[in-house]
């Protein structure tokens, strides 16, 4: 143990290099962004014009799907930090159309795949080399897993907590990894795209509905949605309660998706606006077309890290509570909930 102390001493060289790289890229991103927004907007605008003019049949579908194929919207995209495809589009303008069409559209889902892949590789490496005397990485992972276990089993109880821990813990770690990945310079978070958060909400929706219908049965579900009526008044009120609960079953995943998407996309836009502010502050300097800027978005990046963790926690906790609501629980608590609904 004492002989290993010298090898186990924490050498911060790699950490310092990583932090320094991040700081340099953060300071350099004002210059990149203010020179790239025109590139992004012109290429985006030209793309939209080409698409809108090319096919009339698909134009209505695209307009309904995206909602931003009008000229005004193409000129006023909300400001965002530059991402890797945009940098490459600026460096290689002759291939800009190809990059935009093939890469930028699939950017965010592709990064979701990359995150999951590398996270699995890293975590499986820790798991394979586990021992009774844990290494630092193993201790960190054990802390995280134990914290999640306490959280989920504290809400769902020991028995059901272990069953749903797989889904809920993976959900939390996935959302946290996605959100944090977007704060690396030149990267975007996959959850800043409504399709990704919508997909996660659909997963929760499926888990909740499958659990509900398999545990209670169809008649049991209707009985539960009607607030478990016991007398005539209960049955009369049930006619009102069932549609209300039905709508609620669809609104709850929708609110999950919109909450996560709005927070992460809003943070991206906040960072972009702060970046523009940084460039604006130093715009009085007589630079020869080289945009300089104060890195004002640094504190907001830390804020984004904190808030995105909180949003992942909220998503997971809400999914846990939705599962808790349909598992067999005390009738006393359920009557209170039914009264609060009606």
């Amino acid at each position: 143990m004492i002989a290993n102390a010298e090898q186990n001493r924490f050498r911060p060289t790699r950490l310092i290099v990583a932090v320094a790289t991040l700081l340099v890229l953060t300071v350099a991103s004002p210059a990149l962004a203010s020179s790239l927004t025109t590139a992004q907007q012109t290429t985006h605008a030209s793309q939209l014009f080409a698409k809108a003019g090319a096919d009339k049949a698909g134009a209505k579908k695209e307009a309904a799907k995206k909602g931003n194929t009008t000229k005004k919207k193409a000129e006023k995209l909300p400001p965002e930090l530059p991402s890797l495809p945009q940098v490459l589009m600026k460096l290689m303008p002759e291939k800009a159309h190809d990059i935009h069409h093939n890469w930028l559209h699939f950017f965010r889902p592709m990064y979701a795949f990359l995150i999951v892949f590398f996270a699995l590789v890293f975590l499986s490496g820790i798991y394979r080399k586990r021992s009774i005397l844990p290494s630092r990485a193993q201790m960190a992972m054990e802390m995280i897993v134990e914290g999640l276990d306490n959280l989920i089993c504290g809400i769902l109880g020991k028995k059901w907590g272990r069953v749903y821990f797989v889904y809920l813990a993976s959900l939390f770690l996935y959302i946290v990894a996605n959100n944090w990945f977007g704060q690396i310079p030149l990267m975007m978070s996959p959850t800043s795209f409504i399709a990704a958060t919508g997909g996660l909400a659909i997963c929760t929706f499926l888990v909740v509905q499958v659990t509900q219908f398999s545990k209670l049965g169809f008649k049991g579900v209707l009985h539960h949605w009607a607030g478990e009526p016991k007398d005539v008044v209960g049955y009369i009120v049930a006619v009102l309660l069932i549609p209300l609960h039905l709508v609620e079953e669809f609104v709850k995943p929708l609110s999950l998706a919109l909450r996560l998407f709005g927070n992460i996309y809003g943070e991206d836009i906040l960072l972009g606006s702060m970046l523009m502010l940084g460039v604006l502050i130093l715009s009085f300097l007589p630079a020869n077309g080289i945009p300089l800027g104060l890195p004002l978005q640094l504190p907001f990046m830390f804020l984004a890290l904190l808030l995105s963790t909180i949003q992942a926690l909220v998503f997971t906790l809400l999914s846990t509570i939705y599962i808790l609501m349909i598992l067999p629980h005390d009738d006393h608590e359920h009557e209170e909930n039914a009264e609060s609904h009606a």
Binding site: G67, K72, I194, S255, R259, F261, G262, G266, L313
Partner: protein, 71 residues
């Protein structure tokens, strides 16, 4: 610039008023509870953060409409 385009920021500002009031009440109650029982501060803090995220979400919905709905 049309005057009607001012409606988006004013809508978000009104939503922010509501969330400000709600968050003030929630965090105030949390502070009071933590003062009464300091040993439960951890649990109260967690519940306060989650409640704050709920209340904030309503303002975020208003913010989303500014970016997703074209004028």
């Amino acid at each position: 610039m049309k005057l009607i385009q001012l409606s988006y920021p004013i809508g978000v500002a009104l939503a922010a008023i509501g969330s400000g009031l709600g968050l003030g009440r929630a965090v105030g109650s949390a502070m009071e509870a933590m003062g009464r029982q300091p040993e439960a501060a951890g649990k109260i803090q967690t519940a306060m953060i989650v409640g704050a995220a709920f209340i904030e979400a309503l303002t975020i919905y208003a913010l989303i409409t500014v970016f997703l709905v074209p004028s």
